[in-house]
Amino acid sequence: MVEYAWLAPLLPLVGYVFLLALGRRAPEGLVAGISVILTFLSFLVSLAVFTALGSHPDATGAYTFRWLTLGTHSIDVGFQVTHLNALMLLVVSAVSTLVFLFSVGYMHKDERFSVFYQYLNLFVFSMMALVISPNLFQLYIFWEMVGLCSYLLIGFWYFKPEAALAAKKSFIVTRLGDVGLFIGIILLFLSSGSFDYSTVFQAATSGHLGLPWISSAHLTTLAAILVFTGAVGKSAQFPLHIWLPDAMEGPTPVSALIHAATMVAAGVYLVARTYPLFEASGVALTVVAWIGGITALLGALIALTQRDIKRVIAYSTISQLGYMMMGLGVGAYAYGMFHLFTHAFFKALLFLAAGSVIHAVDTQDLFEMGGLGKKMRITQWTFLFGALALAGVFPWAGFWSKDSIINATLQSGHIVLFWFAEIAAFCTAFYIFRVYFLTFHGKPKDEAKYAHAHEGSWVMTVPLIILAIMAFIAGFFNTGLNNYGLEKYLMADSPTGLIGHVYPDNVALMIASVALALLGILVAALMYWKPVISAEKLAQSLGGIYRLSFRKFYLDEIYYRLIVWTGKLIASIVDFFDRYILDAIVWLLGRAGYMGGVGLKYTQTGQVQTYSVIALFGLMILVAIAMFHVGGVF
């Protein structure tokens, strides 16, 4: 089965080509039908591959063919299925199928319905092709392709200026990171002579990454950090996280699929895929851990105060991705990926549920909602499941995976990061229940919007329910109940059967974490459900801190001043230099020639005799030269 893994990405590609051929005005039913069926088939293929692979530490060879010859080296493309890849395939195809189904209802009657599915199909193809890439080169290709799809889908409603700006911003900010990845893989290629993971890892672990100007150890660190830069951009880690909240301008199913479950997780996947490289350089791993920890805390802090339902969840995504990075960084390879796995489901769920709400009330402002629980029972319950999973309440999925990471952080001795994680966990519980209470409980704030609110059709609720179930049970895939199956599955990629570290469960910490989460929920309930504590007063009393969180630590503004403004300044200087200095010099040269011509013009008197006299003297000069040259005349 494993050798047929290429079918998984191929099916959505077929869908894309088919939809492209059908044109922009194809009927909705046909478009959606083809897409959902093909993605579902792709899911089945992924599932088959996942199970066929088993937890054996072999059968993960690469299938490649030559793509381009580069001197004595060749660049190959093809596919390779490792356990990690298989897991990612499964996650991507599962979430995609559900989101495809959900979008049938959400995008109903959009005039570019077919285009939307085209882009989505292209995205799923690219994402899967990224996942099963056998080398860094192909990974980079599809890395950029998913970025492109993200760009297209964020800017899907192109007529909205905010959407256009957000699309541009997302592409450019992620590209900033991609340059790092670009340079990183070039350096790895140059030093190891190949883009293949195995070759690179072998060279890195044996200290044979060599270039004339840098030692192997330093190069490993440099390359790992450069690769990580790519992951930082894609996974919206600090300091390149600023694009993700803006990306919420895209349609909500897109946010669920691309900006929560799959594409943004690609950065985490990249670090996991190149884990031997990071392990070979301890420094790089520490950097990953710290960036992850900072991001987790920062995201959670900003999410506390946002008013836009999608932005809260977007910051929550940033925060959760930070957890994953931190997990990888502290050596908990399996836990990081475990969290990626669970997060994909409950975050997709939260987004889709939020989408359902937005679809119903046509606003994204939390303070214009309220009391929707009565009208949207399914949405309310599924959202609650997602929120509980995110908050990390026992026994929902998020609890297991997040707690493993926090546990690993503590056990590996990163005390500061541990406290970051715990504070973030408390905030997480608070902000997601703030959203929950503001949306589904209390009194409606906007009667008109409340009046036409209603539950979506089955295409929207069925995905929600499935995801809610997954949000509940996904955590059990890596517990004592199934003998830590996921962990063992992932570890099978390594011949030693161990990647990073694993730690035994820490019951005391579990209890503490759940208590912290429940405390967060309680505070949220006291503020927004049964208003015992006034949110406004608290905000006022906190003053500066509140503003800092609300204005996202002013990072957007700082970047604008620091980077965009500088860039524009340089651009105008270049423009000025080009127009008024370089071109002016050219103009002056031209002018000088012209003036010379004008000056010489006055020798043109029209008097033939004058010309003749001059010609005569010219002749005399020539004769004189000739005579002195030859001599003997006088």
């Binding site: 004058t610 006299v613 005569l616 003297f617 005399m620 005579m627 003997g632 005349v633 006088f634």
Partner: protein, 175 residues
Amino acid sequence: MNFVWNGPMIAFYIIALGVLGAAVLMLSVRKVVYMALSIGGVFIGAAAIYILLGAEFVAVAQILIYVGAITILMLFAIMLTNHKAEEPPFQWTGRNIFAAVGSVLMAVVLLAVIRSTAWPVQPADVHLNAGNSNPVAIGLVMFKQYAFPFELVSLVLIVGLVGAVILAQERKEDE
């Protein structure tokens, strides 16, 4: 160089003086008509030199064409234009100074070159005409060796004639 004072030699110097005198005269008189007349003297003198050099046919042609045709033609042109025209007195303007200096320099250079060159010496009895009279000899060369250039020159004459007629033609204003 030893000068042998014989008949042709004396004749040559007299003619040469006459020619140069006529040329200088031409440039020094102010009335245009006199100038045209004095140039006739130069032409005749040149013809005499040709005879001295044994080129009788060229000498006759010179007299016929230059003295007979060209000088007369010029007189006609003078009559047709401003026949009272007088050359203004010579002024030492910058251009004229340079022209004079240039001409003198030219003369000096030419004379110096002529003087410093060892010219071949030819015997008195070179038989250029191969036994024929000079006109016959020239005719033979002209129509055998130089037939093609001869035809071309006739073409030049025709074109010159037609051109002159068209140029000199009175034109209507609106043309």
